[in-house]
Symmetry: C2
Subunit: 397 residues, 2 copies
């Protein structure tokens, strides 16, 4: 387990904390504070309106999209940043549905992150054309794919269990049935190498604040396969997706390629932070990252299971079937997680009973995994959550 000592120094991690919640919000790249300060003082402060061109703000959503694209196996020119993941899912789903006008089913699974399902619900209600959002158990997805399915919309890695779908297989099955596929990469981008182009994905979306470490909030990203870019009608047809935004034409003309998926003014300060995060990612070997991720998650499971018989592994035992997190089910999981956090091991809890731990090799190593397992074992063996002090109000995680 060597090779990531260098990247670890590039992150700010508070003293006394073992941070296993980077799958919810990644830690701050040390360089990000200065980068954002520079963007504020030297660009916004000094260039004022000129920053859009002189500092390259206007071109960043596309330029940063290409850099991020390497991590998810996207073709150059197929990723653009902006908005939130919810909005990007909406855009992709709206475009995909219109490309399958004779079909009425959006197929998803019960492990999808709720906002994807909610956005689909909202879209379907607005369209009012009898589309149906069908959700089945994750393991039942493949069997449900059929000729009525317009779009298969899945989050590759389950936010609760860490179960990872077989992207290549399900994409193929969907295509064989004539459906399009939209992948939510929230827990994939930066967790392992995604291969959008290789698997033939049609659409994808994701956020940058989890494993990518770009900071709290926007921007998200959207991917549209090059073969679909000219056919995809932007439902959210904002001026920055127009073919000539600064011509201020009265009617909308979609921009070329992925540019049409831009909507409004991009978040310049947040993009500056993302840039610092991508500076780190540019040097990362994704195969080595994945190998380390598997080592760390395996080690955590091996260390925790024998010492914590009350915890039931919710994550697949086969590393090929999981992302970069490990989850355990435990009825008192919320209180136990609070006790753990109070002792410096930060994971999180997802209702009804999931204790969730994310492992990001860029800044988490074997030593932290061993210490976290020790502390978790101590919490469990001594039922530390019975201490009333831990029964505090839920932290938003």
């Amino acid at each position: 387990m060597t090779g990531f000592a260098a990247t670890r120094k590039l992150f700010h991690l508070p003293r006394g904390v073992i941070y296993l919640d980077g799958n919810s919000l990644g830690p701050m790249p040390v360089a990000a504070a200065d980068r954002v300060a520079q963007t504020m003082r030297e660009e916004w402060g000094e260039m004022l309106i000129g920053g859009w061109n002189k500092a390259g703000w206007m071109a960043q959503p596309r330029a940063l999209g290409d850099r991020l694209g390497r991590l998810i196996g996207a073709e150059p020119g197929s990723v653009v940043l902006g908005d939130t993941l919810s909005v990007k899912v909406y855009q992709a789903l709206a475009a995909a549905l219109e490309m399958r006008p004779d079909r009425r089913v959006i197929l998803s699974d019960s492990g999808n992150f709720p906002t994807d399902l909610y956005m689909a619900e909202g879209l379907v209600a607005g369209l009012g054309r009898g589309h149906q959002l069908v959700t089945v158990a994750p393991e039942a997805v493949e069997d449900r794919i059929g000729p009525d399915v317009a779009v298969l919309m899945l989050t590759e890695v389950d936010y609760r269990t860490g179960r990872r779908h077989d992207m290549a297989r399900l994409t193929r099955a969907a295509h064989d049935a004539g459906a399009l596929v939209l992948w939510d990469l929230a827990h994939s981008a930066g967790a392992f190498a995604v291969d959008l182009a290789g698997t033939g994905a049609d659409f994808a979306a994701g956020c940058t604040y989890k494993y990518l470490n770009a900071g709290p909030g926007v921007p998200a990203f959207i991917y549209v396969a090059p073969r679909h870019q000219d056919a995809a009608r932007p439902a959210l047809s904002g001026w920055l997706g127009h073919a000539a935004p600064f011509a201020f034409e009265p009617a909308y003309r979609p921009g070329a390629g992925i540019e049409r998926m831009r909507v409004g003014t991009p978040p310049v300060l947040q993009m500056a932070a993302l840039e610092s995060a991508l500076d780190i990612w540019d040097g990362v070997d994704m195969a080595a990252l994945r190998a380390r991720s598997v080592e760390l998650t395996e080690l955590f499971i091996v260390l925790v299971e024998p010492r914590c018989p009350d915890l039931h592994l919710a994550t697949p035992r086969d590393p090929d079937q999981r992302g970069s997190q490990v989850s355990f089910r435990f009825p008192d999981g919320y209180a136990a997680m609070q006790a753990l956090i109070a002792r410096g091991v930060i994971g999180d809890f997802r209702a009804p009973d999931i204790m969730r731990f994310g492992f990001a090799p860029l800044y988490i190593g074997e030593d932290e995994v061993r210490r976290a397992a020790d502390i978790l074992a101590d919490v469990m063996e001594n039922r530390l959550w019975d201490d009333p002090a831990y029964h505090v109000r839920a932290a938003v995680t």
Copy 2:
């Protein structure tokens, strides 16, 4: 002309520059750099995921919305921040259209900012129910309001000419005809006191990076009149607009009141900058601001017109009919503006022939107006734009 000397010191303005483009991107509040740095180092850096609760990130879109609400005459609990203006217009328009199911016309004017029209186009195309976007000349709006109009969608202040609609009168006319009204406040918020509640507006949206000085990019804001909040269906039904976002329920239930207009994870760094901007606004008397704005725009017109006979005033002469900008038409306006910018007076150009100057009393005073007028007169009298050095590629403004 006194009273704003104090606020001027609160902004960073580059030396040698007279900044008359705050209607496109406001300058940086001096405190914003430290505030954002603090948010990064002390909140993101040290609290990590805990920042959502401990630092109040999750509650900010609503809390900042209430602070901003004072400037636009909104009732407490009727404004929330997030996304971009384009997205907020889409949300408001989608909700409004559903509240007038028997009507098919969205009425707007040719002076509206294109993204509003584009978003309406995209929405209408997606709905596929025969809605029609009708745009008439600004002065013809009132006559066109009729029983077929579902929503009157207007930008209060024309981004090119600075012409200001009579919000009270047009809102009343629309209501008399049974229509709803959506106001785009991009060039109103922070330019003068808006009275959404008093005029009976139904919906409004705006951005925070122009007169409000919150920095390049998101967040935007949306207003929904309290009487409509429970009826407004969120088309973009994201998880943070859910009644219980962290219950991760499978089906969407809209949140109470304005909360349902939230979509995804808010832009924490951009909100920190907005907070610094609002710290300044909290102390501003909006009536005094408007009085000063009128003085400054009047002065600029009075100084420029006699000395620049080639410039034709595009802004209404009656101060009651304009926002806080002055625009002149001039066929060589683009080149002339470049020459002006090269001499330190920053305005901008809007096709085909508009030279645009914004006057923000918080940091622009009589002295700058006089100097800007002198320099503009010099540029015009000596045809400085004929110098080939000024014929450079267009700056994005």
